[in-house]
Amino acid sequence: MSRISGILWSLLFLAVPVLGVATFAVAPAIDVWLPPDVSAHGAAIDGLFYFILALTGVVFVATEVLLFWFLWKYDAANGSRPATYIHGSHSLEVVWTIIPAATLLFLAIYQMNTWADVKMRRPAMAPSVEVVARQFEWRLRYPGRDGTLGTPDDLFLVNDLHVPVDEDFLVQLKSMDVLHSFFLPNLRIKQDAVPGMKIPVWFKATQTGQFDIVCAELCGWGHYKMKGRVTVESRADFDRWLESQYARQEATQPEADPTAAVARTE
């Protein structure tokens, strides 16, 4: 086998880390990257993403370049030196077991707090809205003027979630039929909705604007179009919007009957 072919094959393996890093370097520039984060907890998630990216990036480049270098150097066509007769190295095994173990353990402990913030430390407040997922829409139920969910003056909407900026917002997530997943890419929120369960989801939006609500758990043929929008707005705008919705609902539905609204499936 000629030396040239060994060189070319090694270079093919060198292309892996080179193009790999290049892809991740170019991606943000062509806007194929994390969507803008508008949540209070998102920075911690993105920070962890970048931290792991850096860590794995270093390991990726180091191991792939080593592989390339070994292929280049220890090509049988490169000189007549015999292969090294060695069965392993106890000290190397210890080193490359303990260092990754310590790193992984650190990573495990380091992230716990973020996870607890997003999924375990629920703010002490009444639910701001109830989201009930069904094939293929998001049904929303806001407390009425009395501020309490489950009373006859509740407000019913579909797919049009409004959220006040810079305030804790607590969603009570349910599903009517199959699994769904409440995914707000810009708010770094994802939570499956499970029939028979009531799952709390909370976040604090930090910027105003309109963003996507995506269903991220396969829920049937119309999964792809189970689309909602979340509008983050100032407290004043939010109150104004809420007021207009109350007025609209009261005009069309003088005798508020929430159960009728929920049960009205075609």
Binding site: T23, I52, Y74, Y85, W96, L107, A108, Q135, G220
Partner: protein, 604 residues
């Protein structure tokens, strides 16, 4: 003089015994090639069947990719066969496509090609046995695949089409018969097919364990087993312990669908106006049971490839495996930890988030044995005399790609990051790097490497390298880009995501990936042509074309019924390459021990 080469020269001389052992014992065509109890024939039956399904699964993937790249545009070829409204794909057809792509690839390709094809063919040959412990069970393990082939295949043609609730088949989408068009016959057939695959795997599993424990050749201690056999052994243990859970869960889901039980449906669950007769069940119960099998199954789908790649690397680096025992222990570690990480599939499922933390820690820790294996592979290549054969290139690409697949797993294991990338293309990238860029490369390496033993001829090296090069390039073009799609949050399983503001600009990138996928599938035509041409016209291989050490290379190529023309006696481990002072650069496991001693003495 060359002491070491003498015994192997002797082995290469066909003897009268060879002839007797190769004779088919006056068996008819049916019992020799169809209902054969010979492990090699069964292995090849598995190989041919799974390669056919590999093609089907690949075409399903192309159809999926077509819809993602050019949603609602007419599908070439397939459009005329299946779709409604001209050649355009219906969204329910799309859900069916990705469900069956995964199902076919996992249950009809990867698991049976590793355990069924390579496990069957290699285990007796590499441990020096004349056949499996239970030849009839072995034959049944292949024939139980046929009900599965028929169930999965037929499901495309029943009313409403094949299963469409994902290969994970999560209730209540999967249990409620009204949730998919046509009453969901496809889903019922899917469950039956899955059960049959399970029966087949279980029959194989008990057979492999028994054979490896009881039927090793004299001198073949457990710690002289090649890594392939260690991997097959631990895989068999995993299957034996995990499969019953999936089978039970499958029957429960079948009962929910057909008998009106409610294991997985809460009280009064209504989907599409159809109410499950009984309730009181829990959708999450299925997820726990399913992943209790299917996470170990992830290792069932990679460990044998790791074993095969370890053997191939040593052969073509002409060097002992670096860290044999750490390699064995890390496989065992992966298998052990593999049973306590299933919950990492369920971080977003509604499972108690505190429980998520324990699964996160165990998942982080399972990255460790994988890292140890990778470092040892690098150590094996280091200081070798590398021969860039096609088999070696595929084995090296396994290592290179497994690094990517292993590292990307850490992102999902980190629970807070998983909140964002769960069920996006990031996870799709991750498991395709492990299962296609990893396992499938290992499988190709194995085919090129053991082809001479299977058919007595070697495959064409030039076209093998063309096949490798194009597959390698197209594969990375398809799958590496999925990482950055995942970074945008691009969700999997959406028939059309471009109407979302967040994802509307990603169509050109997806079109690029689809072109790469088309190239990747087309490239396999080179492989198929090379495979069948070489079977009949390739250069005759001889017993040991790669000058490898393990026992299968002492048998004739292809081995006759009963495998060996002499009783192999093992004197050393499988990786004695480039032993100093030995003239030829390898010592087979059967080479007599005085060869080593005399050689070492001569060296001093």
């Amino acid at each position: 003089m060359s002491i070491a080469s003498t015994p192997s020269t002797l082995q290469h001389e066909p003897t009268v015994a060879t002839h007797a052992a190769s004779a088919p014992h006056h068996a008819g065509f049916l019992s020799t090639y169809v209902f054969s109890k010979d492990h090699k024939v069964i292995g090849l039956q598995f190989l041919f069947s799974t390669l056919v399904w590999f093609l089907i699964g690949g075409l399903l993937a192309l159809a999926v990719r077509w819809q993602i790249a050019w949603p609602w545009s007419d599908v070439p070829v397939l459009g005329k066969l299946f779709a409604q409204e001209g050649g355009q794909m219906a969204p329910e057809f799309y859900t069916m496509l990705f469900t069956m792509h995964a199902t076919v690839m996992i249950f009809l390709v990867i698991i049976p090609i590793l355990a069924g094809a390579f496990g069957n063919f290699l285990i007796p040959l590499m441990i020096g046995a004349d056949d499996m412990a239970f030849p009839t069970l072995n034959m049944l393990s292949y024939w139980f695949m046929w009900p599965a082939f028929i169930a999965f295949g037929a499901s495309f043609f029943v009313e409403g089409g094949a299963a469409s609730s994902g290969w994970t088949s999560y209730p209540t989408l999967s249990t409620n018969i009204a949730s998919s068009p046509g009453g969901g016959w496809g889903q019922t057939l899917w469950l039956l097919g899955l059960t049959m695959v399970g029966v087949s795997s279980m029959l194989g599993s008990v057979n492999y364990m028994t054979t490896i424990i009881l039927m090793r050749a004299p001198g073949m201690t457990m710690f002289r087993l090649p890594m392939t056999i260690w991997a097959m052994f631990i895989t068999a243990v995993l299957q034996a312990f995990a499969l019953p859970v999936l089978t039970a869960a499958g029957f429960m889901q079948l009962a929910d669908r057909t008998l009106g039980t409610g294991f997985f449906s809460p009280e009064g669950n209504i989907v599409n106006n159809w109410m499950q007769a009984t309730g009181g069940g829990q959708p999450l119960l299925w997820q726990h049971l399913f992943w209790f099998y299917s996470h170990p199954a992830v290792y069932i789908m990679i460990l044998p490839a790791m074993g095969m790649v370890s053997d191939i690397l040593t052969t073509f680096a002409r060097k002992p495996l670096f860290g044999y025992r750490p390699m064995v222990y890390s496989i065992a570690g992966i298998a052990g930890l593999g049973f306590i990480v299933w919950g990492h599939h369920m971080f977003m499922s509604g499972m108690n988030p505190a429980l998520g933390i324990t699964f996160m820690v165990s998942t982080m820790m399972i990255a460790l044995p994988s890292a140890v294996k990778t470092f040892n592979w690098l150590g094996t290549v280091w200081g070798g005399r590398i021969q860039f054969t096609t088999a070696m290139l595929f084995a090296l690409s396994f290592v290179s790609m497994f690094i990517i697949g292993g590292l990307s797993g850490i992102f999902m294991a980190a629970t807070p990051v998983d909140i964002f990338i769960h069920d996006t293309y990031f996870i799709v990238a991750h498991f395709h790097y492990v299962l296609f860029a990893g396992t499938a490369m290992g499988v190709f390496a194995g085919i090129y490497y053991w082809f001479p033993k299977m058919f007595g001829r070697t495959m064409n090296e030039f076209w093998g390298k063309v096949h490798f090069f194009l597959t390698f390039v197209f594969m990375n073009g398809t799958f590496f880009t999925m990482h950055i799609l995942g970074a945008v949050g691009f969700p999997r399983r959406l028939a059309d995501a471009y109407h979302y503001e967040t994802f509307h600009h990603l169509q050109p990138l997806n079109a690029f990936m689809t072109w790469c996928a088309i190239g990747m599938v087309a490239t396999q035509a080179i492989f198929a042509a090379n495979f069948f041409w070489s079977m009949f016209f390739g250069p005759v291989a001889g017993r040991n074309p790669w000058r490898a050490n393990t026992l299968e290379w002492t048998a004739p190529s292809p081995p006759g019924h009963g495998n060996f023309d002499f009783q192999p006696v093992v004197h050393r481990g499988p990786y004695e390459y480039s032993v100093p002072g030995v003239e030829k650069d390898h010592l087979m496991q059967t080479d007599p021990p005085n060869a080593t001693a005399a050689a070492l003495a001569a060296a001093h």
